[in-house]
Chain length 231, copies 2
């Protein structure tokens, strides 16, 4: 992820579509800044929520807990990502809990502001549609993967997803995950037991697919990882 701020990229990653400058200005003007301390919760699943947030700096995680108390991480999201848009769009309650992993600067856009903005500037709607489409595509894939892929593969997927959310590309194609992530987090993303995530990760470390750099993981062979995550 670059340093530019006029992005509107999704957790789906890929080439992030740029927002036209005029739209971006209008966006900035309508939004209000919000600060988050590390570990602070932005909102809980089930909350009534008004509006969405754009991450300008920092990292958050989106998670839900199932009836049996298991936490399931849906994603770890970084700069440039839009969050909280579901409740904005369909008037239901928040579908996940969002927690800051480190101090964050966000922009908050209320529901009414969003729709005013969009009505005046259809480009905004188009971008939002594209963003949602990407996410839906990813999530659909997840569903299939969950049922047809082994633990190794699902852990590989978790890393791929982390790379989208907070990967910093390095020389030689390496991708550094510039944020401490625990095995429990990864297990939560992959939907596997922590112990088994541990075993899978260690295999990846042994095979040189992953490496550990100052407590953070680095993806040494993104191509190999993608193969392992294949549906």
């Amino acid at each position: 992820m670059g340093n530019e701020n006029n992005k509107f990229s999704g957790m789906a990653g890929g080439k992030p579509p740029l927002m036209p400058l005029c739209a971006w200005r209008a966006f900035l003007k309508a939004a209000v800044p919000v600060e988050l301390r590390a570990r602070e919760i932005l909102f809980h699943a089930g909350d009534e929520g008004d509006g969405c947030y754009l991450i300008r700096a920092g990292t958050v995680k989106a998670s839900v807990v199932s009836v049996d108390g298991q936490e399931r991480l849906l994603a770890v999201l970084g700069e440039g990502t839009l969050i909280g848009e579901l409740a904005l769009l369909d008037d239901e309650s928040r579908s996940a809990t969002v927690t800051a992993l480190r101090p964050c600067r966000l922009l908050h856009l209320t529901k009414s502001a969003f729709f005013r903005l969009g009505d005046a500037n259809p480009t905004i709607y188009r971008l939002a549609l594209r963003l949602l489409a990407r996410r839906l595509r990813d999530t659909n894939e997840s569903v299939v993967a969950q049922g047809s892929v082994t633990v190794q593969g699902r852990v590989a997927r978790a890393f791929a997803s982390l790379a989208e959310g907070l990967g910093a590309p390095q020389a030689g194609g390496r991708i550094l995950l510039a944020q401490r992530v625990t095995q429990s987090d990864i297990a939560g993303m992959a939907g596997v037991a922590r112990e088994n995530a541990s075993r899978a990760i260690n295999e990846f470390l042994r095979d040189g697919v992953l490496a550990r750099v100052k407590g953070c993981y680095a993806i040494e062979k993104p191509e190999r990882l993608r193969q392992l995550a294949e549906i």
Copy 2:
């Protein structure tokens, strides 16, 4: 699902938002009718696809096959549903294969027509956003369910989803699934082995949660089913 045609409801179901009449007229004018025979394939996953389709009559299934050849059913969809919108919105290839389960009448809207329509009439974009949001919410839930719910629960979810897509509410709260569906289909939706889907279904029949009516399933206790499907 009712018989009105000016709907724009999603597989997510619930109260389908009505499309304002003017928008609906414009939609009709821009769209071209398509007919599908039973078992005919509308498009394959991976195809380049232009535009989306609205189901006016009939039923289709959306599926993908994983590398190991397992077919995974994403949904069974009926009248009033919009399909194929992902490729429309994010310029990637078709994410699933769509097959007619019975003869269908569809409306096809090309990409350019869709965006022309939306730019002229932001209501269209708003509806599309809401539709995608609902689907994304459902799919997110699926992901969590897949990891934290037992076979019984997942089969229950499959039936709940079928009810959304093609359920006909009857007197006394019963919901009739007005379409023959095989156990393999259900297993494909739940992501479980057919044999185990069979066992789960029989328990439901024994407990009176489900019933069989002329080869079709009927949900006798929707509330109980929902409980079983709870995350």
